[in-house]
């Protein structure tokens, strides 16, 4: 929440100038597009006659109708309580997306046929590759952050070289480097471990910086109080500093987890049968690319939403000590 002022302003969407401006913009935008070939124009046939020959009048009438619906919708939602507003807006945006996907004329039976395999093979692989990588990346991040904050020259040099290198190279290149480069050194590595290694190292580097800033955000006084009671470094870190740094660390780390979930699709280039790989290959035979790609997209989205929910739960858990 932003800082809530105690003076209540009039709801923005009920201010006449805002409603008028919104109406005008929507009207102009939809007049600028030629909507005469759409289903909406068909609905307007009683008013404008044959859509394709209705000309400027037709465009105006269509734009006007859309602007009235849109503005009325916004004004009405403005009356609803907060939770309901959020719900309605989500629902409407979702409906617009579904309407958009409708225009692809997707073959639902095809999706229904392939979906079980897409989930049992693709989602499972994506999930376990990302889950293992996330755990390894977090461990690397804690070690990296401590190293970067330490006075030890070796530790600092190694950690800063590592973060610089792995943040500086495209992840795709890292995947190739590990999968194709390590065999040059005599380590033949399978696709899945190679993918996990690349993801862990790359995200470990980003998360090192997140953890470092989180640890640094804790007041010096916490270290001093811990030290004055005889706590050692490890104890102070584990019981005092990290628990307090977590509320700072969690939002950007949640970001990284979601980002990693999707970037795990990059390991498809080395032939790991994860979600993206299957989405591309399953549709190829029958040229039904869109079906599989959109299904995979939706699955990624749902998985991300799950991670968002988990993140907000954890954030609420750590907000306890801040409640007055």
């Amino acid at each position: 929440m932003l800082y809530p002022d105690t003076v209540e302003a009039e709801v923005l969407v009920h201010k006449p100038w805002f409603v008028a401006t919104l109406f005008g913009i929507v009207l102009l935008v939809f007049m600028a597009f030629n909507m005469s070939g759409t289903g909406f124009a068909e609905l307007m046939r009683p008013v404008i006659g044959e859509p394709s020959t209705s000309g400027l009048y037709g465009r105006f009438a269509i734009g006007f109708a859309i602007a009235v619906i849109f503005t009325l919708n916004v004004v009405l939602i403005g009356f609803a309580p907060l939770k309901l507003q959020i719900g309605i807006v989500w629902l409407e945006l979702l409906l617009l997306f579904i309407a958009f996907f409708e225009t692809f004329h997707l073959s639902l039976p095809f999706i229904r046929e392939k979906l079980p395999f897409l989930i049992s093979q693709g989602v499972v692989t994506t999930l376990y590759v990302s889950a293992i990588s996330i755990v390894i990346a977090s461990v690397i991040a804690v070690a990296g952050a401590v190293a970067k904050l330490s006075n030890n020259g070796f530790a600092y040099a190694i950690a800063s070289f590592y973060t610089s290198f792995f943040r500086g190279l495209p992840l795709l290149m890292q995947v190739y480097l590990i999968y194709l480069g390590l065999p040059q050194l005599g380590f033949v590595i399978n696709a899945v471990p190679a993918g996990i290694l690349a993801l862990s190292l790359c995200y470990g580097a980003y998360m090192t910086e997140i953890f470092r800033s989180g640890i640094q955000s804790i007041d010096r006084g916490q270290w001093e109080a811990s030290r004055s009671m005889g706590f050692g470094f490890a104890l102070t870190m584990r019981r005092i500093i990290l628990p307090q740094a977590l509320p700072v660390i969690i939002p950007p780390t949640g970001n990284q987890f979601i980002s990693m979930l999707k970037d795990s699709s990059l390991v498809s280039v080395i032939g790991v049968w994860e979600l993206m790989f299957l989405a591309r290959t399953l549709g190829q035979k029958t040229f039904q690319h869109m079906e599989m790609l959109i299904s995979a997209a939706m699955i990624y989205w749902v998985l991300s939403i799950c991670l968002e929910l988990i993140q907000s739960r954890i954030e609420r858990h750590y907000a306890r000590s801040k409640v007055r």
Binding site: E224, A225, R227, M229, G230, F231, Y318, R320, S321
Partner: protein, 247 residues
């Protein structure tokens, strides 16, 4: 005084870069003694007591606490620190733990005291600072004065031989100063060895065995409260006292 020596500083000097923060400090604290250190800001008084548990390092001279010399290569600094309680200006309570847990943490994690026993000790000391009813709250839910009393209880739970107070009332509202000073006076009555950096001259007069005045990193004057307040010898002390007692 024949009592056992708790802290001994001999010819201690400290620099921050080029800045000479402590100059040839000599100070002995005996068991049961209450010492108040005062002086203008930047005079080195906080730095000095922070050297006593080696939160700060001194470069020259010797500091011996409970018979253990403090230096950069000591292996038992934790043992020394756990016997020296410290109360900070900004409390420095652990905000993610309840008041009770703040008090239990030290004994459990450093001294390996069982949870039940640590809990009992914590409640006993929270009772002593007169806030047992706040035990299950988090520090942010308490007033400044209450937080500082919790900080005192947290230090006491370690059963220290000496308590260091680093301007414990400077960050408090005037009304809350007295509740903290009352707690400290109570501690003094019970015979706790205390070294307090404070500007509370009323407290110094009532409780201190010795008042030490520092300026520019040096101990300028040292004496019983009576002598210190009635007949300050040095001009610098007179100016300081006239400033601080003016209002």
């Amino acid at each position: 005084m024949s009592a056992e020596v708790i802290i001994e500083a001999r010819a201690v000097s400290k620099w921050y870069g080029q800045f000479h923060a402590l100059k040839d400090i000599n100070l002995t604290v005996h068991k049961g003694e209450r010492i108040v250190i005062c002086g203008p800001s930047g005079s080195g008084k906080s730095t000095l007591i922070r050297c006593f548990n080696r939160l700060e390092a001194h470069q020259e001279g010797e500091i011996v606490v409970n018979g253990v010399a403090l230096h950069g290569r000591m292996s038992n600094v934790a043992a020394v620190r756990s016997n020296v309680g410290m109360v900070f200006q900004h409390f420095n309570l652990f905000p993610h733990m309840t008041v009770l847990m703040n008090c239990m943490a030290g004994p459990m994690w450093v001294k390996g005291v069982p949870a039940a026993e640590a809990r009992q000790t914590a409640l006993q000391f929270l009772e002593r600072v007169r806030i047992p009813e706040q035990a299950n709250k988090f520090p942010v839910q308490l007033s400044g004065g209450q937080q500082q009393r919790v900080a005192i209880a947290r230090s006491l739970c370690m059963k220290p031989d000496v308590m260091l107070f680093d301007e414990p009332t400077s960050a408090l509202d005037p009304e809350m100063v007295s509740e903290v000073l009352d707690t400290m006076t109570g501690l003094a009555r019970d015979g706790m060895t205390m070294v307090c950096v404070t500007h509370e001259m009323g407290f110094a007069r009532a409780v201190a065995d010795r008042v030490i005045f520092m300026d520019a990193g040096q101990i300028v004057e040292e004496g019983t409260p009576d002598a210190f307040f009635r007949n300050p010898r040095h001009d610098r002390t007179k100016v300081f006292l006239s400033q601080i007692l003016k209002h």
